[in-house]
C-alpha cells in the first residue's frame, strides 16, 4: 500500500482530530452563519413577531380578558402559533441554501452531514424559541392567566416540544429542497410527522395550566423524549442520503 503523504502543516492549521469536538464546532459554525444571515435581513424575525401578536390578539378577542374557563384553551392557544412559526422557520433551513447554490459549499466542506443537520436544527429551535418567548408572556398578559405549576416544568415541556418540532423542521426543509412547490410541500411533509410530538406537548401544557407536578406529566415527557431519540437515531443514518446523491 502506498504510504499516505501526511497533510503538510500550512500556517498553524489547528485541525483537532477528535471527532466529537469537530462535530460541535462544525454545527456551531453553521448555526453562527445562519444566525448572522438572519440578523442581517431580519424579515423572518419581524414576521414571527407579527404572527405571535396576531394569534394572541385573536385569541384575546375570542376569549375576552376575564374568561373563567380560559385554562382549557391555554395549550391550544400556545402551541398552534408556535407550530405555525415553526412551519415558517422550516423553509429557511435548507431551502434557502439550495436556491442560492451555497448547499454545494456545505457538501464540499470537510464536515459530517450530521453536523449540518444539527446546526440547522438548533437554528430553527432558536427561531421558534424566539417566537415562544414573544407568545407565551404576551398571551398570559392579554388573557391574564398563569401556570399554576412551577415555571421550570413549563419551560422544560415547551423546550422539549419545540426541539422535537425543530428536528422535524430541519429534515422537512432538507427534503423540500428538492421539490418544486416549496411553501406548499412543507406542511404536507411535516403533518404526518408532527402528531407524535405535538399531542404529548399539548397534553402536558394543558395539565400544567391547571397545576400539575412532574410525575403527572411524566408519560408525555417520556413520549417526547422517545420521539426525540428515535428521530435523531434515524436521521443520523438517513440524512446522508438526502444531502448527497
Amino acid at each position: 500500500m502506498k504510504p499516505k503523504p501526511q497533510v503538510t502543516k500550512t500556517m498553524e492549521d489547528e485541525v483537532s482530530h477528535n471527532q466529537i469536538t469537530n462535530f460541535f464546532n462544525d454545527a456551531w459554525q453553521i448555526l453562527l452563519k445562519d444566525l448572522r444571515l438572519e440578523l442581517r435581513r431580519k424579515y423572518e424575525i419581524y414576521s414571527i413577531i407579527i404572527l405571535a401578536l396576531i394569534s394572541n390578539l385573536s385569541f384575546g378577542f375570542a376569549l375576552g380578558p376575564s374568561n373563567p374557563n380560559v385554562t382549557d384553551f391555554i395549550s391550544g392557544m400556545l402551541w398552534v402559533p408556535i407550530l405555525f412559526i415553526g412551519m415558517l422557520g422550516f423553509t429557511t433551513g435548507f431551502v434557502r441554501e439550495m436556491d442560492r447554490g451555497s448547499i454545494e459549499g456545505l457538501r464540499a466542506a470537510p464536515i459530517s452531514p450530521q453536523a449540518i443537520l444539527a446546526g440547522k436544527t438548533v437554528y430553527i429551535f432558536l427561531l421558534m424559541c424566539g417566537g415562544a418567548i414573544i407568545i407565551i408572556p404576551s398571551s398570559m398578559a392579554i388573557l391574564n392567566y398563569s401556570f399554576h405549576s412551577n415555571g421550570f416544568l413549563v419551560l422544560l415541556v415547551v423546550a422539549l416540544g419545540i426541539l422535537n418540532i425543530a428536528v422535524i423542521g430541519s429534515i422537512v426543509s432538507a427534503l423540500a429542497m428538492y421539490s418544486q412547490s416549496r411553501a406548499l410541500i412543507i406542511p404536507a411533509l411535516s403533518m404526518p410527522l408532527l402528531p407524535g410530538t405535538i399531542i404529548p406537548s399539548i397534553l402536558a401544557t394543558g395539565k400544567l395550566a391547571v397545576g400539575a407536578d412532574i410525575n403527572s406529566i411524566l408519560p408525555e415527557l417520556q413520549i417526547n423524549l422517545a420521539f426525540l431519540l428515535l428521530m435523531i437515531a434515524t436521521l443520523w443514518i438517513t440524512f446522508e442520503y438526502v444531502l448527497y446523491d
Binding site: 503523504p5 500556517m11 489547528e14 452563519k33 448572522r36 435581513r41 454545494e104 459549499g105 470537510p110
Partner: protein
C-alpha cells in the same frame, strides 16, 4: 490524483462510465468534450459533491470514499455560481469557510484573509457585503474562498464560460501562478482555450474517455 474505472449511473443511464485518468502534482489538466459528455459529473464526484456508483478514486493517496474528510481538506472547488452568502461581508464569508476547514485561531484567520485578498488586490472590498459587489469581484472572492485553505488540488467546472477576453487572460495568469504549489483540473467545452491552457487534456464523449493527450501534439 488517480481514478480507476469510475462510473456514475442513474438506474440504467450512465453519466460517466469506467473513467480512468491520472493527474500528477503541479499539472494543469483539461477536461474537454461537448455538453452532457459527463465533464461536470466527473468534476462533481472528484470534488466530493456527488458519490460515484462504482470504481475507485484517490487524491494524494486518500481514497475518495473512505477518507472523505482528508480529501475534502485537500481540494478547492469553483462552480458556475459563487458559494458565498450575499448578506454577509466577504470577511465573514471567508472566516466562516476557514473555520469549517478546521482553522480556529482568530489571528491566523485574519492573517490568511489579509494575505489572500491582497494577493488578488481586492483587500479594500473585504468589509463589503458580497451582494453589493460586481460579478467580477464576486468571482475573485469565490476563487479566494476555494483556495483559502491552500488546497493541493483545485477543481473548476467550466471556469472560462461567460468570461470576456480580459477575464480569460486573468484566469490564465491565475492558473500559471497557482500551478507552482497545487494541481488544477478544469472542464471546458471550448477547444481553443483548452489547448492553450492545459498541460494535458482528456476528451470525454457520452461518459467515456476517448482520448488523453499532452496539449500541442
Amino acid at each position: 490524483m488517480k481514478t480507476s474505472n469510475l462510473s456514475k449511473s442513474y438506474g440504467d443511464i450512465f453519466a460517466i462510465r469506467d473513467v480512468s485518468i491520472e493527474i500528477n502534482q503541479g499539472e494543469i489538466f483539461g477536461l474537454m468534450g461537448p455538453n452532457g459528455a459527463g465533464k461536470s459529473t466527473l468534476i462533481r464526484i472528484l470534488s466530493t459533491l456527488t458519490k460515484s456508483s462504482s470504481g475507485e478514486a484517490s487524491i494524494f493517496g486518500y481514497n475518495l470514499r473512505k477518507d472523505q474528510r482528508q480529501v475534502k481538506k485537500l481540494i478547492g472547488i469553483v462552480l458556475h455560481h459563487n458559494l458565498l452568502y450575499d448578506e454577509l461581508t466577504a470577511k465573514e464569508n471567508l472566516s466562516y469557510y476557514l473555520r469549517l476547514y478546521g482553522f480556529r485561531n482568530k489571528e491566523t484567520i485574519e492573517k490568511i484573509i489579509f494575505e489572500k485578498t491582497s494577493q488578488f488586490n481586492i483587500v479594500d472590498r473585504v468589509e463589503d457585503q458580497i451582494g453589493t459587489l460586481s460579478s467580477g469581484q464576486r468571482k475573485r472572492f469565490d476563487i479566494i474562498r476555494a483556495t483559502i485553505h491552500n488546497p493541493k488540488l483545485l477543481l473548476l467546472d467550466e471556469p472560462f464560460s461567460g468570461l470576456d477576453r480580459q477575464g480569460i487572460a486573468q484566469l490564465k495568469d491565475f492558473f500559471n501562478s497557482t500551478k507552482k504549489n497545487s494541481t488544477i483540473l478544469f472542464s471546458t467545452h471550448n477547444q481553443q482555450i483548452g489547448e492553450e491552457v492545459s498541460d494535458r487534456i482528456a476528451t470525454l464523449e457520452k461518459g467515456r474517455i476517448i482520448e488523453t493527450k499532452t496539449s500541442g501534439d
